[in-house]
Symmetry: C2
Subunit: 498 residues, 2 copies
């Protein structure tokens, strides 16, 4: 039986502000959309945490047997402008190839983003659509909203009419904001604005002459408003209403609020049943911020290239560290916390290797021990079903590790039935590698190999000095058998590996 | 001085059928377009060879100091249709999420393609545009060709008018085909065709009802003709005329021929100055073909998962093997040839490690030896300048290896001046790693490490048996120093790595 039938997931729906049971629209199919990165700057650690969080959601749903279509977009509409101040250079650069090309910038950061995601062992989404790749769909959605009377054109731009929308529907339902407050808060700020009301937002923007990225539209040359792309791509690939929409909590307002409004206005229904939001990161107890310099990029963390952290941490350690906090909790990055995570990760991997190295042996059955393992395994599912509570799942896995170490004698797990032993191996592997996505990071053994070969060379030299030829030959021959060739030279003995 | 100023490249231009000097339009900027993969099936070994070939072209141009914008597209317009035969299932599948989504298929194969390219150490292109992401640009190009009177609409499709084009320009100039022959060869075949002439080709196709991927256009719902995407994306990112266009030689006709016609018809000029084509692969002496089963996929080759080849070959060995043939030569994959390449690759990497491990020491200067190294290094550039002749470059690198081994004494290169020594290190590294893109593939040393630790454990056990405590303790302590902890148990001694 597919696991999803026996596992009922509760998730915290930002739309309701509480946990509720997850009921897919068309089980076993699930549609999930997560707002992806903007690829005009380096991949961000906060983004990485959000995507790792939803990677676990995706992995767990797959693990339960759901068929998940996971869409995570790439925001590649970039607001680069031709630099009019370049003077003489500018005039000379008439050839296309000499001009700044936003897509070249986007590609650079997209490649970096994918690298970071791959290092963090995040599965690629089912579809990774780009905003620039869906201009037609966005124009069509703008047209629908206009046709439905919930937007208006002004000087080549199209604005969403928030006040009119709010007459029948509730703008602010996701973020819990009140339209009157929003209105009061913004009305005096944009006196020069061409919008009818300051709360209105652009769904199509007229391109200024220096704006490089621009497309023809029924309203002239322009580009889509940022909130629109997710609505258009979500509708295209997941339908007018789908199950889960995720993102960082900083996107709740205005981005996701606008998505709800756009979905209602264009398609006549609220686009998403369950809205999930991840919490923010801090670094050494302080808010991350470019202006204060309190920042840390994923690659800086992986390569130890930052004075904000004591040393390099392997991507799998970072992933483990992230999952030790619940996605709705804030998470503080610090050397001490990462060091602790490193130990925990290694301990978990050691247990995984131990468990995978054991074959079932019949021992005296202990109902107590057997039941305890079964209950602990059950609890892992219960914790995952409880709004994807990875920290409690990890804690339960460590309880299993302690228990396994306690009953492991002479390479057997004493007291377990064959059935429980089998389930233990399968579930432990499944939860650690498939659900949490933690792989046993290949250790680079070069240093240790150099060291051990060096020791053997010394022992052989000693044996030779003592004219113990049988031993010196044995060392040379045994090394040769495993592909290590010793070479005696004037400077001493060196080795090469075949 | 930038190297490109002193290196004049000759390349074989398919348009001329001969080698000619490469003169960029806007040096140091170079625009290069290569037809990328169609992502509705597995990454193909022939494609991989084409992309590795152009990766070397890209790398060499960058190495010489050119600023290259390298565009390689992803053909993700897929001709998938709704399966009308699914019957009962079909009726039930009304939700978007339950329907076949071509972009989900495209993503699967795009991810695989990128993985293969990454394993082969091919640099990502500067821009990797998708066909579906440029529908607007393609529609606009169709419109231009219509406006210029070189295409006609018929029942919602738009066809390129080859005969009319050929009145003023030469359709067939790239492939050396004659319009009359083409016309004779096809006229009787498509009697039912809606085209005016059988040689005409579609630049916009009306979508049949069962065709999933479709976009609105001035001619109704449809999708772009395949030849069009490269013209539209090439023009968008590289301009109406750019320097280099590459692809497999199977694309010369009709694909590239049509690109030339489209460029002329839409933009009033031939789009590309230099057309480069890579040759085909064979497998064990036979043509690769799905129908005969004589096929080998890159991942099958890397993982040894095919009965067409004797064992797995590391991606770097495969890359080296590919570069041992010139891109315009056919290349036969076989176990024997790959084994030879494996040896060559290892020899080259060993030389690289040797060279990088030597510091300059002053020795008696030998003008003969010094000059020989300089000439060999120069010859590497000359071979690369000669239509990117990688096999001759590799041969010259091996001559350098032999020479280096000959003059290497006591960890010094005897006879070389400091300047030549410096150039040798720099150029050898640059040519091997930057230009040929060969990295020293990290060996997995786990087996050897297990073996050497096992030997040390045995030696320690022997010492203990002989009550040679100082030796047994020394082995334990030295291992501990390099992070290897021995554990003595009932079953013998095991170890763990910190």
């Amino acid at each position: 039986m597919d696991k999803y039938k026996s596992n009922r997931i509760q998730l915290f729906n930002s739309l309701k502000g509480e946990k509720e049971e997850f009921i897919p629209i068309n089980a076993p199919h699930i549609g999930m959309y997560v707002c992806g990165p903007t690829v005009y700057s380096n991949a961000h650690l906060g983004n990485a945490r959000t995507f790792v969080s939803f990677d676990v959601v995706y992995r767990y749903l797959l693990f339960l047997g759901y068929k998940v279509r996971y869409v995570r977009n790439i925001t590649d509409v970039g607001h680069l402008v031709d630099d009019a101040d370049e003077g003489e250079d500018k005039l000379a650069k008439t050839a296309k190839i000499e001009q700044l090309e936003p897509m070249e910038v986007a590609q650079k950061y997209t490649v970096e983003f994918r690298k970071v995601m791959q290092m963090l062992n995040a599965l690629p989404p089912s579809i990774e659509p780009t905003a620039t790749g869906h201009i037609i769909e966005q124009i069509e959605m703008v047209q629908s909203i206009l046709d439905n009377g919930l937007a208006y054109e002004m000087n080549g731009s199209v604005y969403f009419d928030v006040l009119k929308y709010n007459e029948k529907l509730n703008y602010g339902e996701l973020s819990g904001r009140n339209i009157e407050e929003l209105y009061e808060g913004t009305r005096t700020l944009d006196a020069q604005d061409e919008k009818k009301n300051a709360v209105d937002f652009a769904i199509w923007k007229k391109a200024a002459p220096e704006h490089i990225m621009r497309w023809n539209s029924p309203w002239g040359e322009g580009f889509p408003g940022w909130h629109l792309e997710c609505s258009a791509m979500g509708t295209k690939y997941l339908g007018k209403k789908f199950d889960i929409h995720g993102g960082g909590m900083d996107l709740k307002f205005p981005h996701h609020e606008c998505e709800i409004a756009q979905g209602n206005a264009a398609n006549g229904e609220s686009p998403v049943n369950y809205w999930l939001h991840t919490n923010m990161l801090t670094l050494n107890g302080q808010r991350m911020s470019k202006s204060t310099g309190n920042t840390l990029l994923p690659l800086e963390l992986f390569y130890g290239a930052s004075d904000k952290i004591d040393k390099a941490y392997a991507p799998m350690v970072v992933r483990f560290f992230m999952l030790q906090a619940h996605y709705r909790s804030t998470l503080d990055f610090s050397g001490a916390a990462l060091q602790a995570a490193e130990k925990g990760y290694k301990k978990l991997m050691a247990a995984l290797r131990l468990l995978n190295g054991i074959a079932y042996q019949e021992t005296e059955f202990s109902e107590r021990d057997d039941l305890e393992i079964v209950k602990l395994l059950d609890s892992c599912y219960e914790f995952m079903n409880d709004d994807f509570n990875t920290p409690r799942t990890i804690a339960a896995l460590f309880e299993i590790v302690a228990k396994v170490n306690g009953i492991c004698k002479n390479n057997a797990l004493v007291g377990l039935s064959k059935k429980t032993f089998g389930r233990l191996q399968e579930d432990f592997n499944g939860l650690v590698t498939q659900v949490l996505g933690l792989s046993d990071q290949q250790k680079d053994n070069q240093d240790q190999l150099d060291g051990t070969i060096g020791m053997l060379i010394d022992l052989r030299t000693e044996a030779k000095n003592e004219k113990n030829w049988s031993m010196s030959d044995a060392i040379r021959d045994q090394l040769k058998e495993i592909g290590i060739q010793l070479k005696d030279g004037k400077e001493g003995t060196s080795y090469s590996i075949e």
